[in-house]
Amino acid sequence: MQFFANVAGLIHLEMLLLQIFPGDSISWIFQIFFSLLFVVFVFYGQRIQMYILIREIEGSLLRLKFIRDEGRKIALKTIKEIGKSEVDPAERVDQFLEYVTIRPQSMDPAGIVWKLEHVLDVREERFKDEVKIMAPAADETNINNLENTLEAAAALNMIYKIIRHFYILGKKTLSLYIIMQIQMILPLIMREAEAYASALKAFSYGQPIGDGAGALVAAKLMQGRRKRKIEKDCIVAKVPIEGRIAYVIKAEGPGGNVGKPGEAIKRVIEENDGKISTIIMIDAALKLEGEKPGEVAEGVGAAIGGPGTEQYKIEESILKYKIPINAVIIKEDIGDAVSPMRKKIFEATEVAAERVRRVIKERTKEGDIIIIAGIGNTIGVGQ
């Protein structure tokens, strides 16, 4: 009934307007309407734009909240399943999600690499200890996987909180520039959050991820050979390839682990008194839009990501002995890097292994000693 009353009211208003503006009344209505519209947009245009942006951020924030909550749920479920703890780990998980790592001061950058490495080592130890308390029944592989799962959940929590911070700040200050900044980078942030959400499931099940492509190539090369532990969480195998002696290095799997390949390479170089003909590093690298996932490319330099400490160590070692360094990279996007390994990337590891053999043949002589390092998270990849 109310609806019909509204319609009747509007018709009555139209009749009234026709009485006030006889003749071409419709033109008058349009004139007034557009004049009003002009005035509204002059004074409130920016505000209207801001409300539209805020609504857009709100929608993404809702999705981020859902992903964050889902991440927490998965982490908790996995810990309960694997850990078989007698006490409810929910409170400890929530504390874990709030952990912060304070980077060392860089005003005087000399020695910052070692400071950063120390902070990261302490962080890792702390995380592992926490996981052991939360999941007392977990073995070493599961501890690594759980640690990775919790780290992904913590990353999602941080992303959500940062976006929420800017959203609330923007609403409080009504500053278009704060809101615009966050709205402009939101599509990229959402992609990253979706990637972490897939990573979380992969980590909780212990599935190989795209980032482990380098480690998988190394694992394929060292199959059937005797392996020994070298440095922290890394293994090495002496493999004869094309008449050369190759020291193949990778992080120890199948738990989620990147190891310290920089330390391992340094150790092998020193064991051989620096007599290394070349180093070949294989790693997954972020592709540019338009490039195909699983494309393999070659180059020079230390192919390794992360905070930079391991890359620094490798560069220091090769500089000392003037060792040439080659890189073979497998291209993938951020989503593929942290989600379960897709078929194309798995197939690309075969291509990468062939490229490694080609580099060995072209860049070294028979009898040479070389190092091959497969970089990346070795979750779901044995050796």
């Binding site: 609806f3 319609v7 889902e70 212990g206 338009g290 379960p340 897709r342 078929k343 044995g382």
Partner: protein, 137 residues
């Protein structure tokens, strides 16, 4: 292993829905008015037609927006396959991923030749989207 988690976003306020319905009704009546004027050969028909279409477009857009807000959030887990190969006879077995699987894991002996079965591959299949940049490819 193939799971899907869903959640629904918050509901749309009833006032917004009423506004949308009113605008829709008014624009439809304007369109009817325009049709009536067209029959009577009234030259002012164009204004009603314009108002009707603008109202219709606005209300449809608002309705679609609310539907977008109400859609269900999903978090899909793609199917992951594990390939097991016999190192002796090359017999292959493909199955869904199970917790505890990892590449190069040694499993039971082969049912055909008693050789060692090893997990040779774990990956997810991705359906490729047909749309590719042909000009810049």
């Amino acid at each position: 292993m193939n799971e899907e988690t869903t959640a629904t976003a918050r509901r749309i306020s009833s006032i917004v829905m009423i506004v949308i319905i009113v605008v829709l009704a008014l624009s439809l009546s304007a369109l009817y008015q325009a049709y009536d004027m067209f029959i009577n050969e009234d030259p002012t028909m164009g204004y009603y037609l314009l108002i009707g279409f603008i109202g219709l477009a606005l209300s449809t857009y608002m309705l679609l927006q609310t539907r977008r807000r109400m859609r269900r959030f999903t978090l899909k887990t793609p199917p992951i396959t594990t390939t097991i190969t016999c190192s002796k006879c090359g017999f292959k077995n493909v199955r869904d991923f199970e917790r505890g699987d990892f590449i190069f894991k040694k499993l039971d002996s082969c049912s055909k030749c008693e050789g060692t079965m090893t997990i040779s591959a774990i990956y997810r299949e991705v359906k490729e989207k047909g749309k590719e940049h042909k000009i810049f490819g």
